[in-house]
Amino acid sequence: MSADIPGGSPTDSAVAAALSVRGVTKTYGALVANDEVDLDVRPGEILALLGENGAGKSTLVKVLSGLVRADAGEVVVGGETLPPGDPEAARAAGVGVVHQHFMLVPDMTATENVALAQGSRAGRRFDSAGTRARLLELSERHGMPVRPDIPVELLPVGERQRIEILKCLLGDARVLLLDEPSAVLSPVEWERLAVVLEELAAQGLAVVLITHKLGEIAAVADRCTVMRGGKVVSTVRVGDTAPEELARMMVGRDVVLRTERPVVAAGPVVLEAAGLTLAGYRGDRDLGPVDLTVRGGEVLGVAGVEGNGQSELADLLAGVRAPTAGTVLVTAPGGGPGRTGVIAEDRQADGLALPLSVTDNLMMRVIGDEAFSRHGVLRKGRIRRHCSERVERFGVRTSGLETPVESLSGGNQQKIVLARELYGEPDLLVAAQPTRGLDVGAIEFVHAQINAHKTAGGATVLFSAELDEIFALSDRIAVMSGGRVVAVLDADDATRDRVGELMTAVNGAGEEVVA
């Protein structure tokens, strides 16, 4: 492969670059999201794009795909300069994108979704049968199984993602951009995707992979471009660079990749769940009965293959859904009902009001408190001070407190949820995928926050698809399979193999369950 030229200077790459970016700048008001970005990707290589939350990665992807018009700079694909802000032209030139937030019509089938993307090019002719055949053929060729006739909203995320990729391939993509594809995948699904990406690269495609997971970069990427504050900091060869080094380049300081788990004397029981049952949580499958007890100063990690009832259990514990039977009792250390903080698994659907401002989103739980409103009238000054303190403390990158949350980067949206839910020291924290989509620096920060909550005597139930995270933070580990807790292990006795075994042993639902 021609990946032996680490830098990205124009003369080197003009030879064979499938995609080159020259001096792309994009500003939002005073905020510079992309600052003179240069980038080259050659056919047959996988280039990783790494950067903090809000570094401008998704913005760059949107510029490349024509969804956003850059203020300056040009994008060259296969020797041709793309007209700015024209998604149609970008697609025609062979730029395929799998966005951070999928762009499929939920109630259409895979075939229809793909045909829709095609149709706009082929004079809006809707060739359903032809598309279906080509889709299946490609899916077979690349080993990406998809079901073409089921509405995509009923499919698991991994399959939806395969549809997105096939959609690009069907459009004869020469450059494939994937924005945090692994954020929603289970480890097994990621392995599968990695194989597919390597195969595609071997066939001559240029692949740009955005991810926050250093392990994935080490596994598949040839080179890695690091962005910080909208700028490209450097481009390195992955083989020559240690993960710690990558993390340092990206955050600008040393990052602790492994946190120490503090040992805290267990306090009184905070969470007591007894006989929790939810009928028909997936079709005809029942959840539970689940019994759990968590004490103050304790983190209970819940592991399981996606789709085995963890999301539903999280909803029940958070009080967002009512159980069919059973009780959830949260007690404050001093007695009396305790407060629960919730980090929702799907932050955009259940955790944030996207069109509203940063301020509005930070105030959801506490707006009625004496401190922030009197006689039903908001106390603007106090609210503003509270919100700036929160934004500062959690390092949220935003152009202002009145900015709508929908314009924040994914990771910064998650920080808003954390800043709100950890405020006022809740007795119980229900954290579902709390670090999904966060950069390593931010993950370090979140882990520190969870540990601080624990040290302060709070109880935590942590749901995570990352076994590393479960092991790093939990005192006990509950393993779920088929809608039940099949085992609760002490973290000191638990091994990854044992947990992995339990996850898949008893009637595991697997990830291919259709609702």
């Binding site: 937030h101 762009m103 499929l104 939920p106 594809p181 929603v184 929702a344 659907a349 994914g410």
Partner: protein, 361 residues
């Protein structure tokens, strides 16, 4: 934020100018003298104090209905039954004005207006109950109740509440003590416009600066997140529908208590409830924006009247030109929004049809 508001205003103004030009073009196509038509339009609105007063008289129910729409839609509810709630409020106000006599003016008028608000809120409350307890779509519930209310008013005006001679198919005038005092002599404009302006300001204040307004906006923006963080969203929805309907009820009371005849007649609202929705759309759901938007629509309605009388353009065509204006204005606003939202990921901006599914990060 402010730049955005300014941009929105600019778009609206541009749209109105475009639309007026287009409607003159339509008139020209029919062969009528354009200059004369334009002059008639102008005179219809500003030609005399009486004309201007009449424009402002139309402005009152329009802006109130629009505020009603804004309140409900900020909470994510679609109250398309404003027209019915106007009728309900007008009816209760008329009942109080007609039968509760012997009170001093200030008191009687106050009670009559309040009765209007209550009447509107009651009808809105029925829709809210259907929505909250019976799972009936709010759009359908409010619309169907409007159809019923139209019949009820017609029956009341021709039956139980008909004036003593029993020949006119409408009620007698309400007591003088229940009528709004004239604001501009020799015009139809009455003092209710002052109350209306106050109501608009109150609505804007409540939405922006109070806990209730906050919960309303939050519920409308994401009901599930609102519920998960302790807002009782069903209650908010019910409250929003009732408040929205109460404001429409006040509009109804004005249509009775500030009208020259000051009585209950079938169809006394003539579609203000629906026009109010258009006003709110023009104003992009901003309470303060409802004032200029309602003025525009009132001027169109009023100017159109003279167009018919003086230039002899058929009333159908007048209505058609008004429709062109409305379509162009809302269309331009929509187009500008779309252009703007293309720079954001689709789905993020699209509340009604969440395309962004699955990957969340």
């Amino acid at each position: 934020m402010n730049r955005q508001a300014l941009r929105g205003l600019l778009v609206s103004v541009l749209a109105v100018v475009l639309a007026l030009a287009a409607s003159l073009a339509v008139i020209a196509l029919t062969g009528a003298p354009v200059g004369k038509a334009a002059a008639a339009m102008w005179d219809g609105v500003f030609g005399s104090p009486a004309q201007f007063g009449a424009t402002l008289t139309k402005f009152v129910p329009l802006v109130l209905a629009a505020i009603g729409w804004v309140i409900a839609s900020r909470a994510g509810r679609l109250n398309v039954g404003l027209e019915g709630q106007i009728l309900a409020g007008g009816t209760t106000a008329a009942v109080v004005g007609l039968y509760l006599t012997g009170l001093p003016t200030v008191l009687h008028l106050t009670i009559a207006v309040l009765a209007g608000a209550v009447g509107g809120a009651l009808l809105g409350g029925v829709a809210a109950w259907l929505w909250a307890r019976r799972g009936v779509n709010d759009f359908i519930a409010t619309l169907l109740l409007t159809l019923i209310m139209t019949q009820v008013v017609s029956w009341l005006a021709n039956g139980p509440m008909e004036e003593p001679t029993g020949t006119l198919g409408q009620s007698a005038s309400v007591a003088d003590s229940a009528r709004w005092p004239v604001l501009l002599p020799r015009t139809t404009l009455r003092a209710d416009i002052i109350l209306v302006i106050i109501l608009v300001l109150v609505a804007a204040y409540v939405l922006r600066r109070t806990v209730v307004g906050y919960r309303l906006r939050l519920t409308g923006a994401n009901e599930s997140a609102a519920r998960a963080t302790g807002t009782r969203t069903t209650l908010v929805g019910v409250a929003a529908l009732c408040a929205s309907a109460a404001v429409a009820g006040v509009a109804g009371s004005s249509l009775v208590l500030a009208a020259p005849a000051a009585n209950l007649a079938p169809g006394f609202s003539a579609g203000y409830g629906f026009d109010g929705i258009v006003v709110a759309l023009l104003a992009r759901n901003s309470p303060l924006g409802c004032i200029p938007a309602a003025l525009l629509l009132a001027a169109l309605r009023q100017g159109g009247g003279l167009l018919e009388a003086r230039v002899g353009i058929s009333s159908g065509l007048v209505t058609a030109t008004q429709a062109v204006v409305i379509l162009l204005v809302t269309g331009t606003a929509w187009y500008a929004d779309r252009r703007r939202s293309r720079s954001r990921p689709p789905g993020a901006a699209d509340v009604a049809a969440p395309v962004a599914e699955g990957a969340r990060s």
